[in-house]
Amino acid sequence: MTTVTDDLDRVPPVTPPGRGRSVLQFLRNTWRGLTSMRTALILLFLLALASMPGALLPQWSLNQTRTREYIEANPTWGPIANALGLFEVFASPWYAAIYLSLFLSLVGCLLPRCWDFAKQLRAEPVRTPRNLARMPLHTVHPVDDEPQVVADRVETALRRKHWRVVRRTEPGGVHTVSAEKGYLREVGNLVFHFSLLGLLVAVAIGKLFGYEGSVITRVGAEFCSTNPSQYDNFRPGLTVDGTDMQPFCVDLKTFDAKYSDSGQPLDYSVGLSYQFGSDPATGVNTDHFDPYLLRVNEPLRMNGERLYLLGHGYAPEVQITFPDGQTRTASANFISNDPTLLSSGAIKITDPPGASLQDLTQRQLALRGLFAPTAFLHGEIMTSSYPAATKPGLAVAIYRGDLGLETGRSQSIYSIDENQVSTGKLKELERVNLYIGDTTTLDDGTKITFTGYRQWVSLQTSYDPGQTAALVFAITLLGGLMVSLTIKRRRVWFRVQTSSTVGSSSDGQSSSGGGTRVEVGGLARTDQAGYGSEFSGIAALVYPQGLPVAQDDDLHPQSSSSEHDDDGEER
């Protein structure tokens, strides 16, 4: 405790201007820290780490049933993880905190870089270093022409090759040429990073203004997308209240599924006609429908609204003749997780005719069980041997009593409330296997006939106004990435002087050949790979006709053959 006080005492008194400066300094240091590459790297790895629960744990947005089951199976850990947002990783605040910090760091890094790059574009290529022999690439050429002529030749040739060139003269009649190329690398780099920002904005637009809705519709019926209530499941964007959806209607005419002989599905398609652009509610232009064949991988696109075929199934249909002679047709959608489309579900008759309010709860009917498109019996157990409806069979247990709809508990449309069965309120009467046309008679004389089946399809509507922008940014991102990885920022320097002016530092080569000595140095600022062969070509510009082939061996050994090879690898 005392030491802390001592330490505090030792802190020099802070004067007001000093405090102001220290706050500024603190802010500046924070900003520098945030925008440093180290921080960006750490944030990148945090982002990767934080994404992993999204893959490893079930997510509410992907599968609610599995998520609920997971939480129930892990009574201690489940609720904690749920509170932490581990089942909704990509919508959780901590995930947003990471990627927003990352993007802030990115902006902080990009803006100065843009500024620097703009300055570099205006700046001249740097002065020729005194000792070109220190450069990774270096050659010396004896040339017969006057220094002035050689320098002119090199300068013109480099300009023709789109290098940025500057001529300088050094004391003693020494000409130098500095040239630089590959500015596109930085352009690509900046485009790549700005595309990431653009992509984030595009995704955000989709999350704000887009929506998705899914619905199960019978083939033969019509579906209109006018408001969210038309959908079984509607996932609106943050600003979407469903009031300004672009309405459209589809009339599902046919459904066709093709299977291989072994029962593997080959193709699904829905023949439909659709109407878009006018208001189906007001009936304007209702007689104009366009045909479309909706298939997997071939959505119907209507000016931003997209309709997808996601799945399909069977809905067995039964006719019930009640003791008083009244008949009723009932049908329900059955679902399947099985490749043979053996489907399960429940047909419920909640209001049998002739039942008073009092005995309604005694006389409700339910058929729960399986529908087999191609029925196959193992003893009494019905399975399906093929997904197409070649010999439909219905294996159901028939119940009578109280379905429990008034209990307030939510009930699946694909099954009955087991609680009602176990408490005896719903009694199982019999179990039957029926083929089309078969009839079973219940103890009170009610006749149930399996009359056939209908097909249903599950459709999804998607609307994402940010998606075109996302595509554009994805393309610029890829383009920028490729440019920044293939193009090298490279420099070349020529020092041209008469051989006699070369001092004691000459390496002997100068004395051979003509009266002018050209020293060439090259440097690639990021990776030397691939620059070697280009450098040899550039260095050869000192000769009027380019480098004679025989003189290839005289080139500096550092532009080795391995670099020539590498050149190809990176393209």
Binding site: M37, R38, L41, L44, F45, L47, A48, S51, M52, G54, A55, L56, Q59, S61, L62, R66, V89, R134, M135, P136, V203, E212, S260, S262, Q264, P265, L266, D267, Y268, R295, V296, N297, P299, R306, Y308, L310, Q460, S462, D464, Q467, A470, L471, A474, L477, L478, L481, M482, L485, L523, T526, D527, Q528, A529, Q558, S560, S562, E563, D565, D566, E569
Partner: protein, 350 residues
């Protein structure tokens, strides 16, 4: 046709294993390769800094010069490969046999992939067996290209380890009868998305293997440096098989060059996947487990490329990131397909 394809794959599998053994024998017989001048210089420099606590800045021209040295060293190593004086003769013999076997394995593997495609009447990338088979083929092809350019045959042993394992897993666990795929996979996007994913994955395998070797070599060099005053310890280290790895500079170069080839292809593959998802599932990105882990791997590789350009992160740290990135890819291929349920779960594991 399907039978021939399976037979060819088994032959390729056997050839991979034998090639692996030959690489192993050559590797074990290779003469120890000392750390390069640059490596010694940089380590000593670092030790001086660490020991004295005083920072002694490098001369301005040093990085350039360093670059210059390591390029030359690699060339020297190439020369070493050619003069076989101090080495035992059977090492290179097995090495050459390994390369021949690798070529044969790749050809047979290619025949298997092609005939499989003909038998199934579609692109032979419809399930995990076919995907892994193609991955082995592409990784081996990439390795042969790298070998032709870098001449670092010692790396073959470490590239062939994952390839042989993948081939084995494909031939035993993942094998499945040739047949049609489900309707959602019947799209031309499959050609674009799946081939680029597997091609980039295979190049990243070679990159990851090079980085893993880098880490081993890095540890070995550190030990060597610590033991440099102790002659017996140095001799013992020199005798270890790790001393036969290529130099750090060579490994880093291979890892980086393969990574920058693969990264744009992988990026393209992910974008193509998003485009296909828009067509098939109604949204371009839905954080499906496969998409999530693909994103995670992408972030790792982006991190690797950045780390290589960040002081303090070059070298071993960057190599670690590259290795972790490849681990994420493998995780995505096996764990996400076989354990986690998602939209990509139609891998058809037999």
């Amino acid at each position: 046709m399907a039978g021939f394809s399976d037979l060819a794959f088994q032959a390729a599998m056997a050839a991979y294993v034998v090639a692996l053994i030959c690489y192993g024998i050559e590797f074990a017989a290779r003469r120890a390769m000392d750390p390069t001048q640059l490596e010694v210089a940089s380590r000593e420099h670092r030790l001086v800094r660490a020991g004295a606590g005083a920072s002694e800045p490098l001369p301005a021209d040093r990085p350039l010069h360093g670059r210059h040295i390591d390029e030359r060293d690699i060339d020297d190593e190439l020369d070493d490969d050619l003069d076989e004086g101090p080495r035992t003769q059977w090492g290179p013999l097995f090495g050459r046999a390994a390369v021949v076997l690798t070529v044969i394995a790749a050809l047979v593997n290619a025949a298997s992939v092609v005939t499989r495609g003909i038998a199934a009447g579609r692109l032979p990338l419809g399930n995990m067996y076919e995907f892994t088979s193609f991955l082995c083929l592409a990784a081996t092809t990439c390795w042969l290209v790298v070998l032709a350019k870098s001449k670092e045959r010692a790396l073959g042993f470490f590239v062939m380890i994952p390839v042989a394992i993948l081939a084995f897993v494909a031939g035993t666990v993942l094998w499945i009868q040739a047949g049609p795929v489900q309707p959602s996979l019947n799209s031309y996007w499959k050609w674009i998305h799946v081939t680029t994913v597997s091609a980039s994955g295979s190049v990243l395998l070679v990159s990851g293997a090079a980085s893993a070797m880098y880490l081993l070599r890095h540890r070995f060099d550190s030990k060597l440096l610590v033991a440099r005053t102790d002659a017996t310890a140095t001799a013992r280290l020199q005798a270890s098989s790790l001393s036969r790895l290529p130099s750090l500079a060579a490994l880093d170069k291979i890892a980086y060059r393969t990574a920058i080839v693969a990264f744009p292809v992988y990026t393209f593959a992910v974008i193509a996947g998003a485009l296909w998802a828009e067509v098939a599932w109604g949204r371009y990105w839905g954080w499906d487990p496969k998409e999530t882990v693909a994103f995670v791997s992408w972030v790792f590789y982006a991190g690797y490329l950045h780390a290589r350009a960040t002081s303090g992160w070059r070298g071993a740290r960057a190599a670690w990131i590259n290795v972790v990135g490849f681990a994420a890819i493998v995780f995505n291929l096996f764990f996400v397909n076989m354990v986690i349920t998602g939209l990509h779960s139609y891998a058809g594991v037999g």
